[in-house]
């Protein structure tokens, strides 16, 4: 296993150099090293520093006949919408929907959560979002009445746990299912790779991006699909198992802010 990350070294360098462009899939793979954003370098930014203000000049309008006035600023950055994290109920339902009903559930009897935690659906087994509701900021409507919806470190940890749990179960289940019953490997079979069926892989990744993130991929050259193709390919090369590639893609899709925020 130690040899694998070393073979992957150059690709991460390329990934960083390319910024948002995903590296080409035939480039050797490396583990991310020091090029990723350093927490130590960034954590001391204040929130104010993180806000990028639009650089467009103020629009000056004058009243009078024949004077045209722009009603909206021309600079698109002025319309960056403030994103919000899903609440816990929405997130639980979103993961269930995306994974064909699996969700983040331990085996067991039907569970509807403690009284007071609303908007979280009943599930078969213990829904871990219900179990962790208080820690994840769901109000108890006694001492707190508003849900805390920051995507903080504890939320991120449990989101990672949820993604790993749901996606592992989903992949295990889909290997046994016929194609028309799958929700993850819809257009690609569990044996397909980028070498054997590139169009099927791209078609499946496009479907997942639309399903998980609402991103419509325009074609194989669309930058939106490249990093996901890269992830799939590097995992397949490292493990020799295409289903592990789909598992990683599923987990990363759920951990990506486009999934849990709107």
């Amino acid at each position: 296993m130690n040899a694998i990350p070393r073979t992957l070294l150059p690709i991460a360098v390329v990934a960083v150099l390319l910024g948002c462009q995903a590296p080409a899939v035939d480039v050797p793979i490396q583990p991310h090293a020091s090029q990723s954003p350093s927490l130590g370098e960034q954590v001391d930014r204040t929130r104010a520093e993180l806000i990028v203000l639009p650089s467009a000049d103020p629009i000056v309008g004058t009243l009078g006949e024949g004077t045209s006035v722009e009603l909206v600023p021309s600079h698109p950055d002025a319309f960056i919408r403030v994103r919000h994290r899903m609440d816990v109920g929405q997130l639980s339902q979103a993961i269930q929907r995306a994974t064909g009903g699996i969700g983040w559930v331990n085996s067991g009897a039907w569970d509807c959560g403690p009284a007071g935690y609303v908007n979280i659906p009943c599930t078969k087994g213990v829904d871990q979002f219900v179990k962790l509701a208080a820690t994840l900021g769901v109000p108890d409507y006694l001492l707190s009445v508003t849900e805390e919806r920051d995507a903080g470190p504890v939320f991120q940890k449990f989101l990672g746990d949820a993604a790993r749990s749901a996606c592992t179960k989903l992949v295990d289940a889909e290997v046994e299912k016929p194609p028309d019953e799958r929700v993850l490997m819809v257009h690609a079979s569990p044996e397909d790779t980028l070498e054997s069926a590139p169009l099927a892989i791209d078609k499946n990744l496009s479907l997942l991006l639309l399903r998980y993130h609402g991103v419509k991929v325009t074609g194989p050259a669309d930058p939106a699909i490249q990093r996901w193709r890269w992830l799939f390919q590097t995992i397949v090369k490292g493990t020799q198992q295409p289903v592990e590639g789909w598992r990683a893609v599923c987990i990363a899709l759920i951990q990506h802010p486009d999934f849990y925020s709107y």
Binding site: M1, P5, L8, A15, G19, C20, A22, I29, P31, H32, S36, P37, L39, Q42, V43, D44, R45, T46, R47, A48, L50, I51, V52, D77, V82, R83, H84, L132, A134, T135, L142, L143, S144, V145, T146, E148, D150, A151, G152, P153, V154, Q156, K157, F158, G160, D161, R164, R227, T234, I235, G238, T239, E244, R247, A248, I251, A252, H256, P257, S261
Partner: protein
């Protein structure tokens, strides 16, 4: 006898386990971290624990009692104060505990009987709200909230910002409210409901993946966060920083400090000392232990925990049965915390962790000095608080509530005495006192009040 044996077991277990861990190198990363976390120039090396009594405590039973011989049913119409101690289930008799600085209520528990010389009491505080939610925000930030939105950052967030950049979890929060309005992301409160949830948050991913897969997923998410679309979004940027923080929390190997259900001599002694079982990790005593351990281990700079199991919002007959015992359990948990901090040496200096830690006990408001028609007490604007620790001169009282209706009375912060020309005590006085003790005198949190210098050590 049981108590003595328990305490000895606790200390011996802690020493043995600490020695073993040190020998094995188990404490090394955290101790190195604690050693490295030196405060900025001019600031003292301080740690803070805020203990929340949720629901609104009845200060007549603990911090601000009245002599039942002077305040009773015969004159309640005049005084507007009815202690009604005789109605309480199992109330001690005599009720009041005398100290050098006046009477304390018996439900202060071991803090009144064993540590009275270490605590200081703040009385006659005006909370300016009768809402649970607003009261919490009011106390922790020192500012009235705007609707349901906190205005400003909590004091612990300020302290974490000033002192806690190197800590793995600078600002640990359990069952209380903490806000970050204007401080760096690293100072934000990391909130957990119970010790178990904290343990899950700092343990490895469950289920685990091969490290290679974790790395590749991490590469993709980190790279995606470098897109212009992500960099221009404060939400996305903060989310990615938090994701990286969660990875750091897991890789810090700090879970052993909080595995209170473990079958080890150290954890058995800890449970014995704080008086909780393996199945009571969501209770006040367990959270108190979590707070103390987070400080002693160097994991946190501040800890804000609810030390009460269940609430104190006793509007009905439950005032007679649960208000006192729940308060006492909370104050006893603080007493255990004090003993725990005192018994652990601070960074090989010969001093204890208690010599570097300030503790504040608070509630969102108090309860009416008169009983309501249902035998309980409703919300009351007046309040009290308790302070002790590194910067606090024990055995003092600052401020006072009036003997008619327990109204807040103006006081002189430099003497602590009632002064009609002085200031009305508010939560920000308590917070400003902590800032002053730390060495921060330019009021960065914009509290706009004087510190209670009468309570500060010289």
């Amino acid at each position: 006898m049981t108590k003595r044996r328990t305490r000895r077991n606790f200390l011996m277990g802690s020493l043995a386990a600490g020695g073993a861990l040190s020998t094995l190198g188990g404490l090394d990363p955290i101790l190195r971290l604690a050693q490295a976390a030196e405060p900025a120039a001019g600031l003292k090396d301080r740690y803070y624990i805020f203990c929340y009594f949720g629901g609104g405590w009845d200060v007549l039973l603990s911090l601000d009692p009245r002599d039942p011989n002077q305040f009773n049913a015969t004159n309640a119409e005049t005084t507007r104060i009815l202690p009604a101690y005789d109605l309480l289930d199992g109330a001690p008799d005599p009720f009041l505990i005398p100290t050098d600085y006046g009477f304390l209520g018996p439900y202060l528990g071991d803090l009144a009987t064993k540590h009275a010389d270490k605590i200081s009491v703040v009385r006659g505080m005006n909370m300016e709200t009768l809402s649970h939610d607003a009261g919490q925000k009011r106390f922790t930030t020192g500012k009235p909230p705007s609707g349901t939105q906190a205005r400003g950052s909590s004091a612990v967030t300020w302290f974490s910002s000033l002192l806690g950049k190197q800590q793995i979890i600078p600002n640990l929060v359990s069952n209380s409210q903490v806000f970050n309005a204007d401080q760096p992301t690293y100072a934000s409160g990391i909130k957990v409901h119970s010790v178990n949830d904290l343990l899950r948050a700092v343990r490895g991913q469950d289920p685990s993946l091969p490290s290679f897969m974790d790395q590749q997923i991490d590469v993709l998410l980190a790279e995606a966060a470098q897109c212009q679309r992500s960099l221009s979004s404060p939400f996305r940027t903060a989310a990615e920083l938090s994701r990286q923080k969660s990875v750091a929390m897991v890789s810090g190997n700090i879970d052993s400090y909080f595995d209170f259900a473990a079958d080890t001599p150290e954890m058995a002694a800890l449970r014995d000392h704080y008086v909780f079982t393996k199945n009571e990790l969501h209770t006040g005593p367990a959270r108190a232990a979590m707070a103390a351990r987070s400080i002693i281990s160097g994991v946190s700079r501040t800890a804000s925990v609810s030390v009460v199991s269940g609430g104190l919002d006793t509007h009905f007959e439950d005032w007679k049965s649960i208000q006192g015992p729940r308060q006492r359990a909370g104050f006893d948990a603080i007493a255990r915390m004090v003993e725990d901090l005192e018994e652990h040496e601070y960074k090989d200096t010969g001093a204890s962790w208690m010599d570097h830690t300030n503790i504040v006990a608070y509630s969102e408001f108090s309860r009416t000095p008169l009983l309501n028609a249902k035998g309980g007490r409703d919300h009351w604007l007046g309040n009290a608080a308790l302070m002790l620790g590194a910067d606090i001169q024990g055995g003092r009282v600052a401020g006072a509530s009036s003997n008619v209706g327990m109204q807040p009375m103006a006081f002189d912060p430099s003497t602590g005495l009632v002064d009609p020309a002085g200031e009305v005590m508010k939560p920000e006085h308590v917070l400003q006192t902590l800032f002053e003790g730390l060495g921060v005198t330019n009021d960065p949190a914009d509290l706009r009040v004087s510190p209670i210098t009468a309570l500060l050590k010289k």
